[in-house]
């Protein structure tokens, strides 16, 4: 008899479970309430909770990577930043973990060169002071310019080929909208979760929650090394082609 009762118990549980699922209120939740964010008037305008990294005026949010205290920074003119190849890379003062980033770039109309030597730059989604220097989203003029596919614009450099080539012509402004989830490490420095990235290039999806196997070196294999919140870095690439420009850079912490 007792045994029978015990057997009956799961049935009762199931029955009450089914009973509970007859009201829509059972699956309605009221907290926590998502924060209200006022969106921009259009896709290019920052939402109310964005940190403005560059609005056309100054480089207050940026430092030279080589010398973060007094290093030479790039040039601001005509509401845009133009890469100064003699100054080296430039990175944000602030550090970030997970974020949504909007950034615009323009390859000069008079660009020359071919392959990787044509409008080469890059956006490091987390700048690291070792190895490859972080995780690079490649910027390059691939409008009728071919190179290795894991190094074309929209690639996670030498790790993830973009889904498509959505380049605009040199001289036109182009957009990147990026969702970055930083890798996580446990207290012992062991990798806990991989970095993930989603990228829209000019509104076209080129990376869909791509998981990274490590940083993005030019030579050798990607590797992870423990790090936390990191700056976002723009690359001054040493190729001989004319320098590119950036504008309208904003980021939302996630």
């Amino acid at each position: 008899m007792r045994k029978n009762l015990v057997l009956l118990l799961p049935t009762l549980v199931i029955a009450s479970f089914c009973f509970a699922q007859t009201k829509p209120e059972e699956t309605e939740y009221y907290t926590p309430v998502p924060p209200v964010v006022t969106p921009g008037a259009d896709f290019l305008t920052p939402p109310s909770d964005a940190i403005i990294l560059f609005d056309g005026k100054n480089l207050d949010e940026w430092v030279a990577t080589k010398d973060t205290v007094s290093g030479k920074k790039w040039t601001v003119a005509g509401n845009m930043i133009t890469v100064d190849k003699t100054a080296g890379d430039m990175q944000t003062r602030r550090r970030f973990m997970d974020f949504q980033l909007h950034i615009e770039y323009r390859i000069p109309e008079n660009i020359t060169g071919s392959g990787q030597g044509r409008g080469n730059s890059g956006i490091f989604l987390a700048a690291l002071p070792w190895g490859a220097g972080g995780y690079e989203l490649q910027v390059l003029d691939n409008y009728k310019n071919t190179t290795y596919v894991n190094g074309q614009v929209g690639s996670m450099y030498k790790q993830a080929v973009p889904l498509v080539n959505a380049c605009r012509k040199p001289g036109e402004w182009q957009t990147f909208d990026v969702v970055w989830t930083a890798p996580r490490f446990n207290d012992h420095g062991i990798l806990h979760s991989l970095a993930r990235v989603t990228v829209f290039h000019n509104g076209v999806l080129v990376q869909n929650n791509t998981t990274l196997l490590g940083d993005t070196p030019n030579m050798g294999q990607p590797a992870y090394r423990v790090h936390g919140a990191s700056p976002i870095k723009l690359q001054a690439h040493g190729d001989k082609s004319e320098p590119i420009s950036y504008r309208n850079i904003w980021v939302r912490n996630l």
């Binding site: 907290t31 924060p35 964010v37 939402p47 894991n150 380049c167």
Partner: protein, 254 residues
């Protein structure tokens, strides 16, 4: 035995050659040249359809849509002034074409004179896969959440009753709003069990609301979500009762 030795020799030879090349600093070993991503011409703005998009509604007609209630019958919503307005008597409408994984853009507007509260204020929704009649499928909620509160897993940008949006990025009634959605359909084994769940990324008005959210099944008004096997399915728009309008709907298959 000889075969084994040869194999071992060959493999170690190759890997040491790779190592050597990397140590020597030959970046060519990690350059990939094919397959080449296809060229897609982006739209003039992020909202405009790229060259490879299927335009589902461009303001002129409902040729791409059909009635859900009466399969094969015309989608009897109202087309005027370049937009599509819900006719609640006609019920839900869905695309004639079926889709698996895609990037979707659509724009919607809550009437400026909307009345009501909670779920009774500007309610509609986009079903990313219409798996059956009525509201069967996976719904991303549309609601007037501008100064209108409801259960958080039922507000705009929620995976209805499954996943709360990361933010409330609603514009005022009367203003056009955008959804940019990446949908990865679930995959099923031959026995009908889930091989991989569905994932969704949702951006409303340029603000990230869902970041590769894993779905636990179809969205239900009552009860706990569960999966049932399906293949490519249409995209469905919900006639919940309020006369919302839609425009500029396009989709890129991934």
């Amino acid at each position: 035995m000889i075969k084994k030795i040869t194999l071992v020799f060959l493999l170690s030879g190759i890997s040491s050659a790779i190592l050597l090349a990397q140590e020597k600093g030959d970046p060519k070993t990690t350059e990939v040249y094919s397959p080449v991503p296809k060229v897609v011409t982006p739209g003039n703005s992020p909202e405009a359809a790229p060259s490879d998009a299927i335009v589902l509604f461009d303001g002129s007609n409902l040729d791409q849509w059909t009635s859900v209630k009466t399969p094969g019958a015309p989608a009897n919503w109202t087309v005027a002034d370049g937009m599509l307005t819900i006719n609640k008597f006609a019920g839900n409408i869905q695309t004639k074409k079926s889709f698996t994984d895609y990037q979707l853009h659509l724009e919607w507007r809550i009437p400026a004179n909307i009345s009501g509260t909670g779920q009774g204020r500007g309610n509609s929704g986009v079903f990313l896969a219409s798996t059956g009649p009525d509201d069967d499928g996976y719904e991303i909620q549309i609601l007037d959440c501008y100064n209108n509160s409801t259960y958080v897993n039922g507000q705009t940008g929620s995976v209805y009753k499954q996943s709360v949006p990361m933010a409330n990025a609603c514009k005022k009634p009367g203003e056009w709003q955008t959804y940019d959605i990446i949908w990865n359909a679930p995959r099923f084994k031959t026995d009908g069990s889930v091989k991989t769940p569905a994932y969704v990324t949702v951006i409303q008005n340029g603000v990230l609301l869902q970041n590769h959210t894993e779905l636990t099944g179809q969205t239900l008004f009552i009860g706990t979500p569960f999966y049932k096997q399906h293949g490519p399915e249409p995209i469905k728009l919900q006639a919940h009762g309020d006369p919302l309008s839609y425009r500029n709907i396009w989709v890129r298959e991934l």
